[in-house]
């Protein structure tokens, strides 16, 4: 058992440090952007290009796919080192690199892989994920957006919602219903959609923090050529599963913008509140650190070529809940100061941002309750949910609001 870098890992880390020192100079200080400033997407694209040129865009991917052919541990080492800088990384780039590309690689034709995978890694294409709809979130297979065949094209009508970074994306991955007479999981098809196609209307949604990182996307007679279909007609659910698996494995959402428990403990100490909250702080810290070492165990498993089991979903589950509990506690300790949003004090804004972001994180990419169901069913082997929709054609299902 060895928690430290192996000699090869240490050498890689050193190499990365050196490279970053040369290439990430511009990111020594926090970016001159307020929260929600969309210019960060373009900055992210630039940084992705720099990484790609340095050979760090797809560290753990095989070389034939344009990657470096290194281990997942080296991937993490890079991220750790990269995160010492205020680099513009986030979903604006991550949706493409982390979700779209693995899905395209798994289900795409050679031409699709050629057309999309490499350019995405190079920062040439930014993506968004057009899955959720007003009546399809946790129950994603309930999507109603309709795609109908018309010659060599598909014509798409419907509405997507919560589409993060649709306003900056070049392309989108889209899940649509091609056959409403099938049971709900069977009538879906997966498409790649050029976001400049006529008929797409992206409207920002204002979130609780006042920012607009996600959108409603209205699709009116949007034409998608059949060559932009990913996978077979009616096989969209299986394709989307690949995306979701990558989403759940990738998303923890750690960021320099968010508070960690150590900073909470320091704050408590400063305010003379550490002792009073000793047990709670210690428990929170133990959850946070437990997650860190859990991820180290997962990486070890990955680097041995093992598949990750159902417990991998706890990364997001635990992270989001620790973030919410910790941020709430931090805000309590800050007192009335914390009630004012427009403050210059970086620490106050971190707890505020943490508190608001945690609420989103507990829902996005698999809500807490859904993840617990998964753990109960897949890890513990408990029965699945009673489903009123089994075997019923989609067009005959009851609908709520």
């Amino acid at each position: 058992m060895d928690f430290n870098d192996s000699p090869e890992e240490a050498a890689f880390r050193q190499e990365v440090k050196t490279w970053l020192a040369e290439n990430a100079q511009a990111y020594r200080e926090p970016l001159p952007l307020g929260p929600g400033d969309i210019r960060i997407a373009e900055m992210g694209r630039e940084w992705q290009k720099i990484k790609a040129r340095g050979g760090y865009a797809a560290i753990s991917w095989p070389t034939e796919a344009g990657g470096r052919g290194a281990t997942p541990i080296e991937e993490v080492i890079f991220a750790e080192e990269e995160n010492r800088y205020h680099v513009p990384v986030g979903p604006f780039v991550g949706i493409g690199v982390g979700l779209a590309v693995p899905t395209i690689r798994a289900h795409g034709t050679p031409e699709q892989i050629e057309q999309f995978a490499h350019p995405t890694l190079m920062g040439d294409i930014l993506w968004c994920q057009l899955f959720s709809e007003p009546a399809a979130g946790s129950d994603l297979a309930a999507v109603r957006t309709r795609a109908q065949r018309d010659g060599d094209d598909w014509v798409v009508n419907g509405q997507k919602v919560w589409t993060s970074w649709a306003h900056t994306a070049d392309w989108g991955i889209l899940l649509a219903r091609t056959d409403p007479e099938q049971v709900k999981h069977k009538g879906l098809t997966f498409f790649l959609l050029d976001m400049r196609t006529p008929g797409i209307d992206v409207r920002p949604i204002r979130s609780i923090s006042g920012e607009s990182e996600f959108n409603e996307v209205f699709l009116t007679d949007v034409r998608i050529p059949d060559r932009c279909r990913l996978g077979e007609v009616g096989a969209g659910w299986g394709v989307a599963m690949t995306t979701l698996m990558n989403e759940r494995a990738n998303s923890t959402g750690e960021s320099l913008l968010l508070p960690d428990v150590s900073s909470l403990v320091r704050l408590a100490r400063e305010r003379g509140l550490a002792e009073k909250n000793q047990r709670e702080l210690a428990a929170l810290y133990a959850r946070e650190q437990g997650l860190k070492y859990f991820q180290a165990r997962q990486l070890t498993a990955l680097s041995r070529g093992e598949q990750l089991g159902p417990m991998s979903v706890i990364s997001k589950l635990v992270f989001a809940n620790v973030l919410q509990d910790g941020s709430a506690m931090g805000l309590d300790m800050l007192g009335l100061e914390a009630a004012f949003l427009a403050t210059e004090d970086h620490r106050v804004t971190r707890f505020q941002y943490g508190y608001q972001w945690a609420a989103a994180l507990r829902i996005a990419g698999g809500a807490d309750e859904i993840l617990k169901n998964q753990i109960a069913e897949r890890e513990l082997g408990l029965p699945g949910e009673i489903r009123a929709d089994k075997g019923v054609p989609f067009s005959q299902l009851p609908v709520g609001r």
Binding site: D2, A286, G290, R297, I375
Partner: protein, 361 residues
């Protein structure tokens, strides 16, 4: 980084799990309690045959010369079945104390432990007893409660000399100067036994003195925390499995209770806590193994997660069982009570929480 146990270590754990699963059943625990025996001598004898007492005793002294990582895994397996033997005090605590103290007496004790002819009780130095060592290394005074004190062969205890210097003593318990008894009051955890001793000019050997004793005790505490965390982990994991199995068997309102989200999410919460506790325990194991400067923080993390998780798993296991969980027959009580016992052994949650926060700068 290679943050996992090796295949050989896992194999050892698998063997241990199989052996303990077959021998140390709930039926056996119940028989043990009914018999009023001090500890399960037959089981201990089998462990001796497997070489467990000498697992981490150097080969030169007749042991297997394995390390603390193997000990962690065995502790988890022992925690899983709640084996009523003085494994923790003899193997996890006494062996490293003796090894670090060194000297002829310590070496011969190690050899006896490895040979399976000696069990050891260790008095927790935090427990607030104050024993004074008189002339000729003779000990007077009283000591209680200490696990297995009434039935162990040797006691390791810290006392002070008249000038206040701390000394680590070994006391052969079968001697005229020592009166012992099993504590008559009911012990919270029915599968462990606790004793009291009265010393009247008891003969002792000084194993270490002064600063060294303080250092040894400090290390003992951290080590105990990590190894107990593995015991807690084993207990939590088997309590969770037991609850899962029952929830699949039991039907209410025409459905398995494991199908209701109240139960599914409850058990998912327990399972998540176990995964975090396991990760913290592994980190503790690594810190112990490498004698890392991180050890105080790692030990506190392991301990806090372990206590919280075992408590949760034991309480909710009983709850999932409904009324049957409250009966002696259903076995839930073994975990329920052990969880509380382990929570207060080697320092309670408040103390460890304070120490953990200390480590954050």
């Amino acid at each position: 980084m290679n943050f996992d146990f090796s295949d050989d270590q896992k194999m050892l754990a698998d063997h241990a799990r199989q052996f303990l699963g077959e021998t140390c059943t709930f039926d056996r625990l119940r028989e043990f309690v009914a018999s009023g025996e001090d500890y399960d001598r037959a089981l201990w004898q089998q462990m001796v045959e497997l070489g467990w007492p000498g697992l981490s005793v150097p080969e030169a002294a007749g042991g297997l010369g394995l390390g603390v990582l193997e000990l962690c895994l065995l502790s988890e397996e022992i925690g899983r079945v709640l084996a009523p033997v003085p494994f923790f005090s003899t193997v996890c605590q006494a062996v490293p104390l003796l090894e670090q103290a060194g000297g002829e007496v310590a070496d011969s004790l190690l050899a006896r432990i490895a040979a399976g002819t000696c069990t050891v009780a260790v008095a927790n130095p935090d427990q607030g007893h104050s024993l004074e060592l008189g002339g000729n290394s003779c000990l007077d005074g009283a000591l209680a409660p200490v696990a297995w004190l009434h039935c162990a062969d040797v006691l390791l205890v810290t006392a002070s000399e008249t000038d206040g210097t701390a000394v680590l003593l070994s006391v052969e318990l079968d001697q005229p100067g020592v009166q012992r008894e099993r504590l008559a009051a009911q012990v919270l955890d029915s599968v462990s036994a606790w004793g009291a001793a009265h010393f009247d000019k008891a003969l002792t050997t000084v194993l270490a003195r002064g600063e060294l004793v303080v250092a040894l005790n400090h290390k003992l505490r951290l080590r105990s925390a990590v190894l107990l965390a593995f015991e807690q982990l084993g207990g939590a994991d088997s309590a969770c499995t037991m609850a899962r199995d029952y929830s699949l068997e039991r039907y209410t309102f025409g459905r398995q209770i494991g199908g209701y989200q109240a139960i599914k999410h409850k058990l998912a919460d327990v399972r998540v806590a176990i995964e975090l506790a396991r990760s913290n325990a592994y980190y503790g194991a690594w810190a112990l193994y490498t004698d890392s400067p991180e050890l105080p923080r790692a030990a506190a993390l392991a301990r806090i997660s372990g206590t919280e998780t075992f408590t949760l798993a034991a309480e909710e296991n009983l709850q999932v069982h409904g009324g049957i969980g409250y009966t002696w027959e259903a076995n839930c009580h073994f975990y329920y009570q052990r969880a509380r016992l382990l929570a207060v052994a080697v320092g309670g949650p408040d103390q460890w929480a304070a120490e953990l926060l200390e480590s954050i700068r």
